[in-house]
């Protein structure tokens, strides 16, 4: 519950990024733009791994229970406070500074949470059910996304866009809700007992004196940290981000599906796929963790391009049969003069709907002469706000579901795999760092490298997929060569 809430808190910021940037990081202000960039990149890339080190160390020194209680309080308070920061219009540059600081605290807390939760559950689980038990922790990242999507959709559908986007509008409600959720989860966690394995070590005085030093300066342990990162978590991170965030972004910015429908597609796909986290966690207890994770990566490598090509083909107007296509609103025509020339750019926006369920807005831009309307440049046509008919909608749900299914294969068993790789006294520290580098850095780079590749090679709309494909392939090779499929029966060491 607590881990789910932490993910919820982390995601709502990203999902409301557009509104948040208008409120706190207005365009045309260089300081605000710099703070905005830092809020996006530093929270994921620097602060998450740093949080893993800081809280991992604490967790190995003072215990799992109190450490992940602390991360939960930090995360919940930071999220709630973001919802209380007045906008840039009211307090000026202080607004983006406060939001950046709170976002960094969120990143720090997230970095500390996962390792603690996974370690805690694994250390309570029977040896033959470690994959099954920890797979429940693995569902929380996706369910956090699900709850964040659901809450935002619910709030948005209950008010107008203006009321939602206002300075003290509906976009703040998901942040405020966090304090309630965190309160419940703190209550639950306070009642929990310390991990029995850690409590035993502490009782015997065998806890680590310096977990950071033991994790990263002892060659025998450091080589396992490297193996975990390059042979498992690096690939897992890119498969996770591609299956959920890249897919959503692609549907909204490339396929141009209307906001509500694109989010609903993701919600259905998550709902259908989530049980497979538990299934693959359970299966990993029977047949080992390695090959389930690696096959998940391989399937992503093989099927990403066909899946995304299928998205594009499904909305290709040259291949669609529109039945009884009608204009639904009077076309809007705008004309903007081009400098001192005698021409102007004309934009015609027309909304259409067909009897077989399609709806879209067509925007045609062309350059015409001032006298008369002879077209002198080839018109550019764009389709936005697409609404899909039922069969195509469910086809898209299926295509996103397949990607999340791959996620469940790589992500379901990974907590048990990481726990078994490291000894109890430095487990929190040792497993947290590779996990957050794999997810925060390799996974978090999916949109940035995607944009980089799309800008460099604009002719291929799927070029952004090469980054997750290459990273997952590399990880597959390293994992297949070096990882062991053996399940460690004893994590009490």
């Amino acid at each position: 519950m607590g881990t789910l809430i932490e993910w919820y808190d982390f995601y709502i910021f990203g999902m409301l990024a557009k509104t948040i940037s208008v409120q706190f990081f207005p365009e045309g202000n260089d300081v605000a733009a710099l703070l905005s960039t830092l809020a996006i990149f530093a929270a994921g890339f620097i602060v998450r791994p740093f949080g893993a080190l800081l809280f991992g160390r604490l967790g190995d020194l003072i215990g799992r229970k109190y450490t992940f209680l602390l991360t939960l309080v930090l995360m919940g308070s930071a999220t709630f406070l973001i919802g209380l920061v007045p906008g840039y219009k009211t307090i000026g540059v202080l607004a983006p500074i406060l939001v950046l600081l709170l976002r960094l605290i969120q990143g720090l807390a997230l970095g500390g949470e996962y390792g603690g939760a996974a370690t805690y559950v694994a250390e309570h689980a029977p040896a033959n059910k470690r994959g099954l038990y920890t797979s429940w922790i693995q569902t929380t990242a996706t369910l956090g996304l699900f709850v964040a999507l659901g809450v935002i959709l619910l709030v948005k559908s209950s008010m107008s866009n203006e009321a939602f986007d206002a300075e003290w509008g509906g976009w703040r409600y998901p942040f405020w809700l966090s304090i309630l959720l965190v309160g419940v989860s703190i209550y639950i966690r306070m009642k929990m007992k310390e991990s029995p394995l850690f409590a035993k070590l502490k009782h015997e005085g065998k806890t680590s004196v310096n977990p950071l030093k033991e994790s990263f300066s002892h060659k025998a342990n450091f080589k396992m940290v490297l193996l975990a990162l390059f042979g498992a978590v690096m690939g897992q991170g890119v498969i996770w981000y591609t299956g959920q965030f890249y897919a959503q972004n692609f549907l909204e910015t490339r396929v141009m599906i209307e906001f509500g429908q694109s989010r609903t597609i993701l919600l259905w796909a998550i709902l259908f796929a989530t049980p497979f986290f538990v299934f693959f966690g359970w299966l990993s207890d029977k047949i080992g963790r390695k090959w389930i994770m690696l096959i998940g990566m391989l399937l992503g490598v093989l099927f990403y391009r066909p899946i995304y090509q299928s998205f594009l083909d499904s909305v290709d107007h040259t291949k669609i049969e529109f039945v009884d296509l009608k204009v639904t609103a009077k076309p809007k025509i705008e004309a903007v003069p081009i400098g001192t020339t005698n021409g102007f750019v004309r934009t015609i926006t027309t909304s259409y709907a067909s009897a077989n369920g399609w709806a879209y807005t067509e925007t045609v831009r062309d350059t015409v002469r001032q006298q008369g309307d002879a077209i002198v440049a080839k018109p550019i046509t764009k389709y936005t706000d697409r609404q899909l008919p039922k069969p195509v909608f469910w086809k898209f749900v299926w295509l996103v579901f397949i990607q999340i299914f791959f996620v469940t294969m790589v992500y379901g068993p990974v907590a048990a795999f990481l726990v078994e790789l490291f000894p109890t006294k430095i487990r929190y520290t040792s497993m947290s760092l590779p996990y957050h580098i794999g997810n925060g850095v390799f996974g978090g780079l999916v949109p940035f490298i995607g944009l980089l590749l799309t800008t460099s090679f604009p002719a291929d709309p799927l070029v952004g997929l090469w980054y997750p494909i290459i990273v997952a392939s590399l990880c597959f090779v390293i994992g297949a060569l070096y990882l062991n499929n053996k399940i460690d029966p004893n994590v009490n060491d």
Partner: protein
């Protein structure tokens, strides 16, 4: 199999600096004060290159360990790690 693991270590040792050089080249070509996209902004590049440097060093060390046969046998319990 162990021979393959060791030879592959050379690939990881070479891949590390190669990836880093590619990142530097990409940053050099894309940072543009007139551009409006994230990839034109130097701040993300500084953060990414800064965080990738230790990762790349880690990949080289991983390759070195592989080459030296450190992964021929993986530890089966913590006594082998301590």
């Amino acid at each position: 199999m162990n021979k393959l693991k060791r030879y592959a270590g050379l690939v990881w040792i070479i891949a590390g600096p190669l990836i880093f050089i590619l990142l530097l080249i990409a940053a050099w070509y894309n940072i543009d004060s007139a551009g409006k996209k994230d990839i034109n902004n130097p701040v993300p590049w500084v953060i990414i290159i800064g965080i990738f440097l230790p990762i790349v060093i880690g990949l080289v060390i991983f390759g070195w360990y592989a080459l030296k046969g450190e992964y021929d046998h993986l530890p089966e319990d913590s006594t082998e790690i301590e």
